[in-house]
Symmetry: D2
Subunit: 80 residues, 4 copies
């Protein structure tokens, strides 16, 4: 039967405390993000579109240009 | 202690058989989809862009037009 | 400006037809799965637990035994 | 053609700045979480099992007891 000595138990508990603090911090940041998106919505901005556009910023401009051209081409062929 | 009579056990097993058959059928269809996307890639098509465009077909054309305009507007303002 | 000749356009359209047929087949199977889980629920089975247990079948029995022992050990130490 | 006046443009940009700061903060916290899980792994703990057990803490103890009993029952019937 596997088991842990007291030292290992203490170590696991302190790691879990650290994880809990970080999970709590993360949920606060996520809450603040939700509030900011709600604020954007309240000001009339389309949050779904905004998130979509914000993601595009991580794409290399040259590559984004090619993507845009391909999307237009496929939409044209498939009549979308 | 909760438990099941034989009838319930039989019922659970037959439901699981049915679920397994459907899960297997689903994985065959998913395999065939992967093969078709691989075929598209082999023919030089960009699968990521293709999937993105195929999703747009489920959006009402009028709404899609508005989305396109908003995306262009936000990209312009945020220089994306 | 990138573009496709008619042959490539035809090829893309036929691939999309094939993808559409497979996506439709997949949604039928998923619909049948939902109905079967609803049937299980109607018979008093807990669908969430059932799905969880069905997943365990793909784990090697020896490994599953070790996982079970570790889960019990961690739950004991963390009083869960 | 839809458009925004300067005020709306400014508002969108300041919301995006705020979103960016929060997204950055979130990625720092996620990085710290990854490091802590890596630390747990380095100490010989099973991170997948640890995450699984940590999730169980949000389940009401009474409910968790019933879940455990159901899982055992289904595993017994389905020989898992």
């Amino acid at each position: 039967m596997i088991g842990f000595d007291n030292n290992a138990k203490q170590q696991l508990k302190s790691l879990v405390d650290k994880i809990d603090r970080l999970l709590e911090e993360k949920s606060h940041v996520e809450e603040a993000l939700r509030e900011t998106y709600a604020e954007a919505k309240a000001h009339g901005f389309d949050v779904k579109i905004l998130k979509q556009v914000l993601k595009l910023r991580s794409v290399d401009p040259k590559e984004l240009e090619e993507q845009d051209a391909l999307i237009d081409l496929y939409r044209d062929i498939l009549e979308v």
